[in-house]
């Protein structure tokens, strides 16, 4: 009541009408957030400390520890999965993101065929991971064109590959995933980056051109600094997904994560999927505890990364 009195005392009738409107339109999104984000996350932390009967336990964390030092309840070494997730993430953000930054710039400069190229680059994203992945799976299968091509080129492939395809051998499965990720990942963030590039004033490029600035000077000296805040935002979002992306491991391996392909994102999805089917479920406690441990591990990385990106954003002069 005191809050309402304060509002009544400090704000005019018109302002109060604005507040009422604003509160009304945020009511649903806020309630949704409180239930499906806030409550869910709090409940997830609670589940991590609960056994099947709801009693307090630390067993779930012991199982997570066992997963990191040996094998978890599903027979997966979590440290290996963490390493694979990180490697795929680094390829995505450390290698592919800079490539996207450059290719998007060139496409924004309306290179010949830019309209068609843009559509084609979106084809994997538009086809969706399910269709794209299943097609790639067929193509790298034992009778698929890629395996046949490698055999035809006399590449020394393990017997398991010639018999079962590239995704069914410890030696080639994860490498295949890395290659697929590399090919598919180039288009990521293209739309947002194009939107940002197109907002850079033309006059800046025109004067730079008159001053004799070349291609790379215009790109690195004008375009990229101008869209730096967008880049920082995208990288901040990317930081959050460091361990959560499953990179379609589920689809590539028919939900097994076998042949040394399991990632943390896959593992988390797999645990939820098992809960939903009830087949091979580990219960709620173990995945929740794994989530808590991963959050604690990721949080400092993200906070430091976010801080550095914000600093970098402030220091860029346009």
């Amino acid at each position: 009541m005191k809050l309402f009195d304060n509002i009544k005392k400090n704000y005019s009738r018109l302002e109060r009408r604005d507040f009422l409107f604003a509160y009304l339109i945020v009511l649903f999104p806020v309630l949704q957030f409180l239930i499906f984000w806030f409550y869910v996350n709090i409940s997830s932390i609670g589940l991590a400390f609960q056994d099947a009967t709801g009693g307090l336990t630390f067993k779930n964390f012991e199982m997570v520890w066992k997963g990191f030092t040996d094998k978890d309840m599903l027979g997966v070494n979590l440290l290996d999965s963490l390493g694979r997730s990180f490697l795929l993430w680094i390829i995505g953000e450390g290698v592919l993101f800079p490539i996207t930054l450059i290719t998007t710039y060139v496409l924004t400069k309306k290179i010949a065929g830019h309209y068609v190229f843009r559509i084609i680059y979106y084809v994997p994203g538009l086809m969706g991971s399910i269709i794209w992945t299943l097609l790639i799976k067929e193509m790298v299968g034992y009778s698929g064109p890629i395996t046949k091509l490698l055999v035809g080129m006399n590449v020394n492939l393990p017997t398991a590959v010639t018999k079962n395809g590239l995704l069914r051998s410890e030696d080639t499965a994860f490498v295949t995933l890395i290659l697929v990720r590399s090919v598919m990942g180039v288009v990521g963030n293209n739309a947002v980056l194009t939107g940002a590039y197109t907002r850079v004033p033309d006059e800046l490029f025109e004067s730079a051109e008159l001053d004799g600035a070349g291609f790379f000077t215009q790109m690195f000296g004008i375009a990229i600094p101008c869209i730096w805040s967008t880049i920082c935002t995208l990288l901040t979002f990317a930081l959050c997904s460091v361990f959560t992306c499953d990179y379609n491991v589920w689809l590539f391996t028919d939900g097994t994560g076998g042949y040394g392909t399991s990632t943390i994102g896959f593992q988390l999805y797999n645990l939820t999927y098992r809960l939903s089917t009830g087949i091979g479920s580990t219960g709620y406690g173990y995945p929740a505890a794994l989530g808590v441990v991963l959050t604690v591990m990721t949080l400092p990385v993200v906070l430091v990364g976010k801080h550095l990106l914000e600093k970098a954003s402030e220091n860029v002069e346009v």
């Binding site: 507040f19 499906f36 399910i130 180039v186 947002v192 959050c240 939820t272 999927y273 929740a288």
Partner: protein
């Protein structure tokens, strides 16, 4: 951005652009090949496909594209009656419309309120959105599933949309920046003319942000159309096409020429989004942008 005037460029820039053009061509070939490969194999018999997936079909079996609608079946994991392609197409459509609408509407309302009104608690709410988007809280899937189960939302089209209506997401970030960019003079003039907040929002602001809303909706639509993981957990009795494609691999024994029909289904399934994106490319690229995150 100023388009490149190729002829006026010095030779060094011309070389760079030609190199990029060649690289783009190679990548385009890599990207288009799986689709082309699927298309060619969709026209073969099962025997032809199994014998040589690289060869051209001896007879082009266009009927496979009709048989998708009559023969394509996917057996649910729980057993029971197989789902038909048309059922899955219908599920894809309603899930797409509902999910995109509730999500964009929720983000839009929140973004408008926080971008245009300074009310007690608005700064806190904005900080919460940034927090939710930039601080990774991992592994909440099981807890979310348990909540959905307890609320009777799993496999329930009447209530599952509540779960999809989150406004604290990337769409908010884009819309917030867009609303901030809309000049306040329009709404101020409307206010002087006696318009209330609802009228201003619906008649003055919404028409100005429609291109951005459309761009976000189309971008989200492609994601929703292709999302198999959500239906796989939450809507198993209402499989969309993406989930159906996943289920089909275990149901292929039901269908003669299963793989070619499967490829035909894949081609048909991805066509709507490819066409949608092709038609709206400029709209998306001109309206999807975001600034910095402070909070």
């Amino acid at each position: 951005m100023t388009p490149l005037k190729f002829r006026k460029q010095p030779i060094s820039v011309k070389i760079i652009y030609v190199a990029f053009f060649v690289a783009f061509l190679i990548f385009a070939a890599v990207y288009i090949y799986p689709l082309l490969w699927a298309f060619i194999n969709s026209l073969k018999s099962m025997k032809e496909y199994a014998t040589d997936s690289l060869a051209m079909p001896s007879t082009w079996r266009w009927r496979h594209y009709f048989e998708v609608f009559t023969e394509f079946q996917a057996v649910p994991l729980s057993g029971g009656e197989p789902f038909r392609y048309m059922d899955m197409l219908f599920n894809s459509l309603w899930i797409l419309v509902v999910k995109v609408f509730v999500n964009v509407a929720s983000s839009m309302l929140l973004a408008y309120a926080l971008a245009r009104f300074r009310f007690p608690g608005s700064k806190f709410l904005y900080a919460m959105v940034i927090f939710a988007n930039t601080i990774p809280i991992i592994g909440a899937g099981p807890a979310a599933y348990r909540l959905a189960m307890n609320l009777g939302m799993v496999n329930n089209p009447m209530t599952i949309w509540l779960m999809w209506a989150g406004g604290f997401d990337f769409a908010f970030i884009v819309l917030y920046g867009y609303f901030k960019g809309v000049s306040p003079s329009y709404s101020e003039s409307a206010k002087i003319d006696g318009a209330n907040n609802w009228t201003i929002f619906i008649k003055v602001i919404l028409p100005q942000v429609t291109p951005c809303l459309a761009a976000i909706a189309i971008t989200q639509a492609t994601g929703v159309w292709n999302d198999y993981s959500t239906p796989m957990i939450y809507m198993r009795d209402y499989p969309n096409l993406a989930y159906g494609m996943y289920l089909f691999k275990d149901s292929s024994f039901l269908v003669k020429d299963s793989m070619p029909i499967y490829f035909a289904a894949a081609v048909i399934s991805c066509m709507p989004v490819i066409i949608l994106y092709t038609c709206s490319q400029n709209l998306i690229l001109n309206n999807m942008t975001t600034g910095g995150l402070k909070g």
